[in-house]
Symmetry: C2
Amino acid sequence: MAVDKAKGRDTGTLGKAMRLLDLVAEADLPLRFSDILARSGEPRGTVHRQLTHLVEEGLLEIGSDSTYRPGLRLLSLAARAWASADFREIAAPALRALHEETGETVHLGVLRGTDVIYLDKVESRQSVRMHSQIGKASPLYCTGIGKAALSLLPKEEASRLIAGLDFHRFTPSTITSAAALEEELEAIRMAGHAFDREEHEEGIRCVAAPIRLSGSERAAGVSVTGPAFRVGRDRLEHWADAVKRTAARIGEEAALRLGPRH
Amino acid sequence: MAVDKAKGRDTGTLGKAMRLLDLVAEADLPLRFSDILARSGEPRGTVHRQLTHLVEEGLLEIGSDSTYRPGLRLLSLAARAWASADFREIAAPALRALHEETGETVHLGVLRGTDVIYLDKVESRQSVRMHSQIGKASPLYCTGIGKAALSLLPKEEASRLIAGLDFHRFTPSTITSAAALEEELEAIRMAGHAFDREEHEEGIRCVAAPIRLSGSERAAGVSVTGPAFRVGRDRLEHWADAVKRTAARIGEEAALRLGPRH
DNA sequence: CCCTATGTTCCATTATTTGGAACTCAATTT
DNA sequence: AAATTGAGTTCCAAATAATGGAACATAGGG
């Protein structure tokens, strides 16, 4: 049977179920059975039984027209995951301070695999709902936090991650080659901060700094984000120091409160 | 091995993994391997392998001191679940209106099993972070929304649910018997709204009304919540109508936009 | 009425999980 | 320093659950 060496993991039955769950969650509209069947490439019986199990567990929900969508149980599980992410709590005051100083949206994110997961967000305007972004995953190579966090990893680990990336062009400025990313990464290591120059979304720019989380094997970052019309290169440059100070502060706090005991 | 008829479900391997995940998520502080082993009652080898799988899938995370806590992947999955909960989106304007009218915190929740899951919350003070409650599960028998939603179910279904409850006294006013709950339920059916008279948390009161979600086999509710010192019985009574109107409005909107197609 | 698309169920075969025991590695205790 | 305890990890034959091909059901057209 030989486990696929390239990918490595083999989480058996659970892994298969999760792949299916991902498939449904990732779709931006409810899928019908046949859609899932087609996308999964697995045989009918198998898919059907697995979906049934996921529904019974509350991880998926099935509509009257037998469309599948993510289930509520995910919400309650995540609520706990979020609550117990004490790193987030530790960072909160520093994020607020940075927001006051800059007046723009501040994000906190961590690296998971090749994605950045947003843990928290501070913004002034209420109109855009807060949760909308929390927990969201974005590719590492086109976000300020992603690139900043990457610059913190040991070089060979960073290169390994980069080698495995699947670049997708979101905007004209998106970095779309490993070579270009490696080059930018070198600059980020020197400067201590990273920019996102409308690389993920047109009209959105940011400066980010990496947070060193000793102990926890995790790379994280903070960023200040704003619309291009209001935030020019000069302002980004100008904020870089504040962002770096914030990152350092969070790193120290975390080391203090998560390091010794916990 | 004869499936436990009383409980019914048998989601095989997935179910077992999820039970373990719940166990870890439900604990309010990170558990070590032995804690989990003890609480699960399963044999060593089994627990160890399952935890390993959960970690590999990102559903759990393991700290340097080999403690387990909920993983970040739950956040990203839930982000999608929340985004695609179009019911929440439909309800949002009505919730805001109710908040403006009453000036107190407004909740939207749905019934899942014997719990109420909070889908959304509108409040004025920013100090208490919004997410803190979203996705949270609270027992059905001591929350306004829970009791209201229950009043919507067919009587025998409600009774079946009630019979299966495991009452826990949170405050002196908590309802702690099936008989008392059945009685109150009758009153709620007549009135069309439910109160929470400091039954879940001391000093916190609320009025809730059930939302009828035709089609979707789901019972939901809206509530207005406030601190006892500011919200007397009279005020609660006074808001009852507004809450009922809001519930009706959400129900109609949902029927319109989720019923025909979708 | 037949045809097709879609969703559901069945069951012998096959692969995965199980769980008891043995093993490692530190930190105590004797 | 040797023995003991406690915590985490690994192993593998036996038990159990997942697989997937095919048959069955159901609904909408043409």
